[in-house]
């Protein structure tokens, strides 16, 4: 067993309840419970080491390149939180077993819960802050699933969205903060960061880092002004609320503050921000808690308030304050989980959570009432329960701090007010529900729930008492280590229920009396607050979201007009704007390499190319002329390749040119021959400007490249083509050997394009003119004799040439591509001259199969080298001496090239024959072409 098990077991265990979807609920609950229980056992194995002051760690490399390793640790703080998460988790699962109705899908519930549990455990045990962040985001997502569990209810969906948006946005801020911290420390491992604490605090980016991390923590922990999402998350099933708002989700923010306490705390800014935020949150939360009529609403705001209290203690940051904060985290988890479960029981049994309808339930549910009173008393901070002690510590710390100079007195005063409100809403929870007159008619007649349903509450209530009476036995060990981890110094915690008569005790007494007074005067408070009724956080939030999405939509509408011309122009103008400034200084782009002299051939070629390019552009309205001009361009490009020592390119370009022009002429048959309307002068002018700028940029870039000094990696290829690849044509050796993988990819692309075209042509209803543009009908002779005769002569000759080109490819210009295109051109000529049917009678080959066979041949040649334990596509060659033929070279690269050849033939023929078939009225039915 190891530490990673604790995180991974619930993560993968989330599948278990889904796997037993058909089983009965007890089985599902059983397998789900098994996981946290196992985790707890593992945790207990490690606990002694942690309690003795060690920090067990474990690491698995994940993405070392970005400093993200799967590193986990179990220091005191992690142990405290992991214990709470797992312990309360077990109780929640047991409780949910009874809480969920028969219509609820418990598998989905348990799965989300386990996923959430795993992400929380990941946060608290992460030893790498990037890993921490990954789990942080995972809690946002899994809590979204939990809050929105009843997705048929729009409240649940909205609440879930709001929680996700708020905590997700905070998560992004947190990531930015963590990256800054990691960059300053030079590592994302916690220990390195702790070691660099002084460096971080002194750094210029300390302030942004702190603010970003605090944004993450405050959104997660629902601190003011982000407290609005938490009450709406109450749309979740009660077990979820109990879990998320007692021990987990919202505590993640608190955990973050504690985790980074050694690194970020102890500065003026930290103190001011965290303490004041906590204080305001505590008061705001407590005030609204008192006003809520919904039981869960009351508890939600009281959670906000107590989180504020913990946050404030962490802001004060002394050793005593940290102990108080951690202690209160435990206590709050115990009593708040208990209270939520009680509220769930009341809701479950009576059918309502509205305190205006509930009253006098004491006589009907005595057990529930007793348990509720214990946990509520703990929340109110009554002795002898655990809440009393942490509240005393809190008041003591509020008194001790002197951080605001002469104004420090207002903190203990406001702390007492917070405690007062806490007493008031605790009384309200108990008095309104269980007393306050006789029982009234309710949707259901309530009674105590099954004993097992209140068992978790019983356990929690017991803990409240036990910790209260024997704090040293129960929690001092873990608090020592947790506080040591937060303050980065050894701590020895001393807790006792009775502190003697002192100021905090007096403040507690004032709080209790004040709380009772406030409770009695609550009606005035309700009346006072009624004037603010229109303000609902949910509506405000949704209005903001709606506005943002409207703005995005209108922006998008303006941007996405459906005009390709606009898009392209937009992209091109961006290119100009970005590139032009840096290229405007022409002298800077000249590299100083001496230029070659201009010879006559190049000059003529360039002029023809320029002329043809201009003609293509200007005559685009007469499309046939445009195509003719395009073919001139292609031809001269091919000559340019030949002139500049690239015979392979020249040949390839030439045959590709032939094939593509044929294809385009075919396409022109289905398209208008002329563009009827001309663009407006304005638009033409604009396009010319854009085109000139782009052309200028390309020319400048090209000039810069051509004149800069030259160093190439090609010497390797030049040196090794013969010895390593067995060929003297270096380009071909590169294609089929050194960089054969590129070529394999390329023929695959070609095959995919051909397959795509095949699909595009499927069921195409082409627009078929019966005459040319001037109204002349097509000639009745479909296959002119002259062409037929010539084509028939050319075919065998072309085949021989292709075979020759193919075979010599390794040593002289040529190869599979060129040979394939030559064969394809000759075949196309047959189609043009004799028609589809004629060809099919004589040469019935399925081009798809041919193409696939080609790709497979190439791939298998590559795989073949595995048989000899060589890497993919290693080639092998030897020299054979045959009679008559003489000595020649045989290379496996030739097989590869054969694959290329077959693919090129297959793909080209498939494209052209499929398309050409469209032009014949009598369409063959056979699918082979």
């Amino acid at each position: 067993m190891n530490l990673l098990f604790i995180i991974f077991a619930p993560f993968f265990g989330a599948l278990l309840p889904l796997l037993v979807k058909r089983a009965s609920r007890p089985i599902k609950t059983g397998v789900t419970l098994l996981i946290p229980v196992l985790c707890l056992i593992v945790l207990f194995q490690y606990a002694p080491a942690t309690l003795a002051g060690d920090v067990p760690k474990q690491m698995v490399e994940w993405l070392p390149g970005i400093g993200l390793d799967f590193a986990v640790r179990l220091d005191g703080l992690s142990l405290l939180f992991a214990g709470l998460i797992l312990g309360i988790g077990v109780l929640i699962i047991g409780y949910a077993h009874y809480y969920l109705s028969d219509n609820d899908d418990e598998s989905r519930f348990y799965a989300s819960l386990l996923l959430f549990m795993s992400s929380m455990l990941g946060i608290v045990m992460a030893d790498n802050i990037l890993l921490l962040w990954v789990f942080w985001e995972l809690t946002s997502i899994s809590s979204f699933l939990l809050i929105g569990y009843w997705f048929h209810s729009s409240d649940a969906r909205r609440g879930a969205r709001m929680a996700l948006a708020t905590t997700g946005a905070g998560g992004l801020a947190l990531l930015a903060g963590l990256l800054i911290i990691g960059n300053i420390a030079g590592s994302y491992q916690l220990d390195d960061i702790f070691a660099a604490a002084d460096q971080i605090k002194a750094h210029a980016y300390y302030v942004p880092a702190l603010i970003l991390v605090l944004l993450g923590a405050f959104t997660k922990s629902a601190q003011f002004p982000f407290q609005f999402w938490l009450p709406h998350a109450m749309a979740a099933p009660t077990p979820v609320s109990a879990y998320l708002h007692s021990a987990t989700m919202v505590k993640a923010g608190i955990f973050l503050l504690a985790r980074f306490h050694p690194v970020l705390a102890d500065t003026e800014l930290w103190f001011t921000l965290v303490t004041l935020t906590g204080l305001i949150t505590m008061l705001v939360g407590a005030y609204f808690a008192l006003l809520k009529h919904d039981l869960k609403g009351l508890l939600a705001f009281s959670t906000v308030s107590h989180l504020g209290l913990i946050c404030m203690l962490l802001g004060i940051g002394t050793q005593g304050a940290v102990i108080a904060a951690l202690f209160h985290i435990i206590n709050h988890a115990c009593f708040k989980a208990g209270l939520f479960m009680t509220a769930g029981i009341i809701d479950h049994e009576s059918g309502t959570r509205d305190m205006r309808k509930l009253q006098g339930l004491m006589s009907l549910m005595p057990i529930t009432a007793t348990l509720a009173m214990i946990v509520a008393a703990s929340m109110a901070g009554m002795p002898p329960f655990n809440g009393f002690m942490s509240k005393e510590l809190f008041l003591d710390q509020a008194l001790q701090q002197h951080l605001f100079g002469g104004l420090s007195w207002f903190i203990p005063v406001l702390a007492t007010v917070g405690a007062m409100l806490s007493v008031a809403y605790s009384i309200r929870f108990i008095h309104d529900v269980f007393f306050n007159g006789e029982y009234k008619e309710l949707p259901k007649k309530p009674h105590d729930p099954p004993r097992m349903m209140s068992a978790p509450v019983f356990i929690l209530a017991f803990l409240c008492i036990a910790i209260g009476l024997a704090p040293m036995t129960m929690v001092s060990g873990i608090l020592d280590q947790a506080a040591a981890a937060v303050t980065a110094s050894p701590v020895d915690v001393k807790l006792s229920l009775w502190h003697g008569f002192n100021l905090p005790l007096l403040m507690s007494a004032v709080a209790v009396i004040g709380g009772i007074v406030i409770y009695l005067a609550r009606d005035q408070l309700f009346t006072f607050n009624r004037q603010f009724d229109g303000q609902d956080a949910k509506h405000n939030f949704e209005r903001i979201v709606q506005k943002a999405s409207d703005a995005a939509a209108s922006f998008y509408d303006r941007l996405d007009t459906g005009s390709l011309q606009r898009y392209i122009a937009f992209v091109l103008i961006s290119v100009i704007v970005v590139l032009l400034p840096s290229l405007s200084d022409l002298s800077a782009v000249t590299g100083g390499k001496p230029q070659l002299p201009v010879d006559m051939v190049s000059m003529v070629g360039a002029l023809v190319l320029i002329g043809a390019a201009f003609a293509t552009a200007t005559m685009h309205r007469n499309r046939f002329v445009m195509l003719t001009m395009l073919s001139v361009v292609g031809l001269v490009v091919s000559l340019a390749f030949a002139h500049f020592s690239a015979p392979d390119l020249a040949m390839t370009q030439l045959v590709v040119e032939v094939v593509s022009i044929i294809l385009m002429i075919l396409a022109l048959f289905f398209m208008p021959q002329k563009t009827s309307r001309a663009s407006s002068g304005h638009r033409v002018f604009r396009d010319i400007i854009i085109a000139s700028f782009i052309g200028g940029i390309v020319a400048t870039l090209n000039f810069a490249i051509l004149t800069s000094p030259f160093e190439s990696i090609s010497d390797f290829f030049l040196a090794n083509a013969k010895s390593g690849g067995g060929g003297t044509n270096v380009v071909n050796v590169i294609l089929v050997d050194f960089r054969g993988f590129d070529t394999l990819g390329e023929i695959t692309v070609l095959a995919i394009a051909a397959a795509g075209i095949h699909k595009l042509l499927n069921k195409l209803k082409p627009f078929m003119p019966s005459s040319d543009i001037d109204g002349r009908p097509w000639h009745r002779i479909r296959h002119p004799l002259m062409l037929t005769t010539v084509a028939n002569i050319i075919l065998p000759m072309a085949m021989i040439v292709a075979a020759y080109i193919f075979l010599r490819g390794h040593n002289l210009p040529g190869g599979g591509f060129i040979a394939g295109l030559i064969v394809a051109s000759a075949m196309i000529l047959q189609y043009i001259a004799n028609g589809v049917d004629w060809v099919k009678e004589r040469f019935n080959v399925n081009y798809q199969s041919l193409m696939s066979f080609g790709v497979m041949t190439a791939a298998l040649t590559g795989i073949g080298s595995w048989v000899f334990n060589k890497p993919f596509l290693t080639s092998w060659f030897t020299y054979l001496d045959w009679p008559v033929v003489g000595k020649f070279e045989f290379a496996t690269a030739l097989l590869f090239d054969l694959g290329v050849f077959l693919t090129v033939v297959g793909a080209t023929m498939m494209i052209l024959s499929n398309f050409g078939k469209m032009t014949t009225r009598h369409r063959p039915t056979h699918e082979g072409h």
């Binding site: 385009m664 398209m671 990696i713 003297t728």
Partner: protein, 113 residues
């Protein structure tokens, strides 16, 4: 020579871009095809210009850079695949929509193309 070469590539690019900015599918496809020529020339020139230096053993004193040649050869074939695909797409669009305009019809406010 280098100046002439780069100016030619620039003009070829400019003409292609002009065609790509037209409002009908056919000139756009022709523009794309011509642009692929320009791009191939551009990429080819990253190996610098060499006359009488075909990289074939035993034929020359010095060899031109073979690597850009091999890459451009690949690019030519891929360019062909792209041209073929886009032209068939244009035909298909014409068949489906009855028009070869590249702009969406219903909310297009620019009738001048």
């Amino acid at each position: 020579m280098e100046t002439l070469y780069s100016v030619t590539v620039g003009i070829l690019t400019a003409c292609s871009v002009f065609l790509i900015l037209r409002g009908r599918s056919f000139p756009v496809v022709v523009g794309i095809t011509m642009l692929s020529y320009a791009v191939n020339l551009f990429l080819f020139s990253t190996g610098r210009l060499t006359i009488d230096g075909a990289p074939i053993y035993g034929t020359q004193e010095t060899y031109a850079d073979p690597l850009p040649q091999a890459l451009v050869l690949t690019a030519i074939v891929i360019g062909f695949a792209m041209t073929a695909y886009s032209i068939i797409l244009a035909v298909r669009t014409r068949g489906e929509l009855g028009t070869d305009e590249v702009n969406q019809q219903d909310n297009s406010t620019e009738g001048n193309r």
